[in-house]
């Protein structure tokens, strides 16, 4: 209980990942959906860092860096698209985006 091992971090990562998935499933607002995606990426980063630490290997941390870079670019492009959509429709609900035709 007092000795923190790899399993503790993996279980924490599981809990956070479930919270993120619940967010992805129940949200309708696209901005909130982006928040849930950030939670997913962060929970995976925790497990990467933990595995990297407990196996004395730096590859996990490297992956975490690239995940952070991808998350940053995802936010930039996603928010740009969201602003365009909001300007056109005044709504960012997911249910409106049922057709592919712009």
């Amino acid at each position: 209980m007092m000795e923190i091992g790899l399993n503790h971090y993996l279980i924490l990562s599981t809990i956070l990942f479930s919270i993120g998935l619940i967010g992805v499933m129940r949200r309708k607002n696209l901005l909130m959906l982006f928040f849930a995606t950030e939670i997913l990426l962060n929970s995976v980063n925790i497990s990467f860092a933990a595995i990297s630490h407990y196996y004395g290997d730096l590859t996990g941390q490297m992956f975490a860096f690239f995940v952070i870079a991808i998350a940053a670019s995802e936010v930039a492009v996603g928010l740009g698209l969201l602003i365009v959509w909001h300007k056109r429709h005044n709504e960012i609900d997911l249910d409106l985006m049922s057709t592919m035709k712009g």
């Binding site: 479930s18 919270i19 928040f35 933990a50 290997d57």
Partner: protein, 191 residues
């Protein structure tokens, strides 16, 4: 001892913050809770000895990404409550937990299955930042460059997408011009 206390404290705080992010109906609460959760997550990186990753987490997530979200939220109407999907709550929770356990099993299966050895072992006597520099600029140089190009592409696309009609200012236009612009916009939506 202190590691255990810190772990449980920050685990509790992170879970609470992310739970608020997922369940609240106010966009501003969700944003602030997410920013707090990101900072608490960086504490795990510091506990695990990944100092540089923790610093990057604070700078990039809590700094850049959150600032970007806060800036983006100025475009949206954030004062009204967020509507949510009405689905089966137990089904959603069960599916989410199942999927998360599946991900952990997939990740941890090779760890349990065989004795893995470190691919890029930690160097003795070097700090975490030094080690990361050594590995990043030798073994991971090509992905690093690709990430740089990807960030550049994302930046340009963000400017192109969000910067449309940014040169128009509603405060400097006359009422007539604004009405004309609105009508033109409505026409476009109807098309």
């Amino acid at each position: 001892m202190f590691e255990a206390i810190a772990f449980y404290l920050f685990a509790f705080l992170t879970i609470v913050m992310f739970y608020i992010t997922v369940t609240t109906s106010q966009a501003l609460y969700a944003l602030s809770a997410l920013a707090a959760g990101m900072i608490f997550i960086s504490a795990f990186f510091f506990i695990l000895g990944a100092d540089f990753l923790g610093a990057v987490q604070i700078v990039v997530y809590s700094g850049a990404v959150m600032a970007l979200y806060a800036f983006g939220m100025m475009f949206f109407d954030t004062t009204r409550d967020v509507k949510e999907k009405k689905g089966n709550k137990y089904l959603i929770t069960g599916l989410a937990t199942l999927a998360a356990i599946l991900v952990v099993v997939i990740v941890s299966a090779p760890l349990i299955g065989e004795n893995i050895s470190a691919y890029y072992p930690m160097t003795e006597g070097a700090g975490n930042t030094q080690e990361i520099g050594m590995v990043l600029f030798t073994k991971y140089l090509v992905p690093f460059e690709l990430a740089a190009v990807m960030l550049l592409v994302a930046m340009i696309s963000g400017i192109v997408l969000a910067g449309k009609k940014m040169d128009l200012s509603l405060t400097l236009m006359s009422d007539r011009e604004i009405i004309e612009m609105r009508e033109e916009k409505n026409k476009k939506v109807l098309l």
